[in-house]
Symmetry: C2
């Protein structure tokens, strides 16, 4: 098991676009309902399949298990057994010794951009990139598991 | 994806015990609630971990995906994230060219013994061992996914 310690932020402006050194198209869905003790996510990242099990709590630290699986099987499960469909491009930006993952959502979540940084402890500090907006780590609706059932396009203003 | 085509039966008597050529202790739980489009099962079989995704329908044929995972991670997920706990010993019996898997349940399902045979098509015929009882392929309550929430010990007579 890995313990995922992660903070989530909104993003302001487009400055991060030119800083990205890698981009991967991702599509995923969930084998679990939105409210349960764990989420089971099936994802295709580029040409790789991934099956991910995560403790379904809102907050900085969560137990996580991830396994590589055949991409065609991941695709079949997404199309036939999963709830929701999350489409996004993940942009990778190095800043001040940390790797930022910036998710630019598409489909029903188009318009939403969320930046995440993985930390080694909940108290670890990090340099703030100038495009970093408000923190949303504690806001349930920004979690992919929630977006799969309540996409950004349907949020009230 | 594999298409699992399987028939389930009750068992009469103990004749199968001396015919078994292999036995494996199994413990598993589910990352999914009982009623959903798919079941996600985490199992430890002997010293091997398995993560299994199956179309959650009652009947002979079901889509199935299975992956080997580290046994210690399977054990952690069973203990911390899963619903239900199924304990059983699986006995393997060859009969008339088919492999029978006979599950002898323990814990809250003690007393229940179910035999399963995997077929290549829904119409494939097979030789009936003399210990084979009534077919329960279409009976929801005999599925492990149902037993995890409604164990045999709590069935009304």
């Amino acid at each position: 098991m890995a313990l995922e310690i992660e903070r989530k932020f909104l993003v302001t402006g487009d400055g991060w676009r030119t800083q990205a050194h890698k981009r991967i198209a991702m599509r995923h869905g969930y084998l679990t309902p939105q409210d349960g003790p764990a989420s089971v996510r099936v994802r295709v990242e580029g040409d790789v399949g991934k099956l991910n099990v995560k403790q379904a709590i809102v907050g900085m630290s969560r137990a996580e298990y991830e396994y590589t699986i055949p991409a065609d099987e991941a695709e079949q499960m997404i199309n036939t057994l999963c709830r929701g469909l999350i489409l996004k491009t993940r942009h990778y930006v190095d800043h001040g010794g940390h790797l930022w993952e910036i998710d630019e959502f598409e489909g029903d979540n188009a318009g939403l951009v969320v930046a995440e940084v993985e930390l080694r402890s909940e108290t670890e500090t990090f340099a703030r990139p100038d495009w970093l907006g408000a923190e949303v780590t504690s806001e349930h609706r920004y979690y992919n598991n929630a977006l799969a059932s309540h996409p950004y396009a349907r949020w009230s203003a």
